[in-house]
Subunit: 192 residues, 2 copies
DNA sequence: ATTCGACCCTAGCACCGCTAGACAACCGAG
DNA sequence: CTCGGTTGTCTAGCGGTGCTAGGGTCGAAT
């Protein structure tokens, strides 16, 4: 049995390598540069090996997205716990969100921009995604205000942050006033 | 001279045909289906003809985007002029924006999601883009509130709408509560 | 009528995601 | 210890992509 176990371990290790390499390549040169050929070459296997781990490129993107969601949840909770009071917490959360998007553009794209074949906002949504949303909700439910469902508020707040993140990075918004825009958003949306 | 003029006219007409066909194909089957081969076949010319009008696929996307920006500006002003009072005007504007994004997904993508090679938020930004932004600013500057620059407010409001539009269409947000989310956003961001 | 230039098409390049089928290496049974 | 069979990997190739070089045709101007 130990032989099979070793093989399984090696297989899992190689799968991690694939995901890590895809992510690295995407962060370095963008997702367009992540081709199955290049990816295969970097992990020093032939292309078909990729398809023994994933159905296709889409699933690889999905795997990177899940990894990113877990990291994002951690980052959100860290930012929230480092601030005093609901208002400051939400401000810190918003800044941390945009910071994450800016520092990990490829991961952010895998999560929210590209098709990774993942289900969102449903029962069969993968746990990391649900948890990342929960991390936002934890802080945002403190400033939701009366008569509004916290889930709905979180969705709206998140969408606003997402808009800022994507439009800024796509060059649609000038990067200079990023700070004031976040302040404005938090100041108006959060009810203290 | 009249021969040259006729040729120029025919050339311009064909260029319009290319853009219209690209847009149509994109709305019907998505931008992935807009390949130079398919596009060439539909306009009943060979591929290289496309390249005598545009540098490449990117520029075709850009042309569709410019067309869309002009239409969007018209739609925004129409929605604004049909409502009484600043608050109702902004609500109508927001609904019209999301409606435009939902009804013309391919055009919306060309504008804000894909790379059409256009400059945004700069001096050399094409006029239609500037004007679409101006159309938003006209209504939003009425509800900006004190101590906030209307341009900054418009950018923030727009980003929030963009987030709602893209996340909803990408299946990241459940479509059911789209209405309440817009209400919440307008209610909190707009200062009456 | 002839030359010349503008125009368009055929054919092809390098790349893409993905897969069929050949081959080698290794495991377990006799 | 040998031998079948399974498991795993690779080479090669399919149909597609954006884009372009080069040849040929056709009409305008001399």
């Amino acid at each position: 049995m130990s032989v099979q176990e070793r093989k399984q371990r090696e297989r899992a290790e190689r799968e991690r390598l694939i995901v890590a390499t895809a992510r690295e390549l995407a962060e370095q040169q963008g997702w367009d540069a992540v081709t199955t050929r290049r990816l295969a070459e970097r992990i020093e296997y032939s292309q078909p090996v990729l398809y023994s781990h994933f159905r296709g490129k889409r699933e690889i993107i999905g795997a990177v997205a899940l990894q990113g969601a877990a990291e994002m949840a951690v980052a959100m909770r860290a930012a929230a716990s480092g601030a005093d009071g609901p208002r400051a917490r939400v401000a810190a959360l918003a800044r941390a969100y945009l910071d994450f998007a800016e520092r990990n553009p490829a991961v952010y794209d895998a999560l929210f921009q590209l098709d990774g074949g993942l289900a969102f906002a449903q029962e069969d949504t993968p746990e990391p995604l649900k948890d990342a949303f929960a991390a936002l909700l934890e802080s945002l439910s403190e400033v939701t205000g009366d008569g509004v469902e916290p889930g709905l508020f979180t969705e709206t707040f998140w969408a606003a942050l997402h808009g800022l993140a994507t439009l800024t990075r796509a060059g649609r918004l000038p990067p200079e006033d990023a700070g004031p825009r976040v302040e404005l958003l938090v100041g108006r949306l959060a009810v203290v």
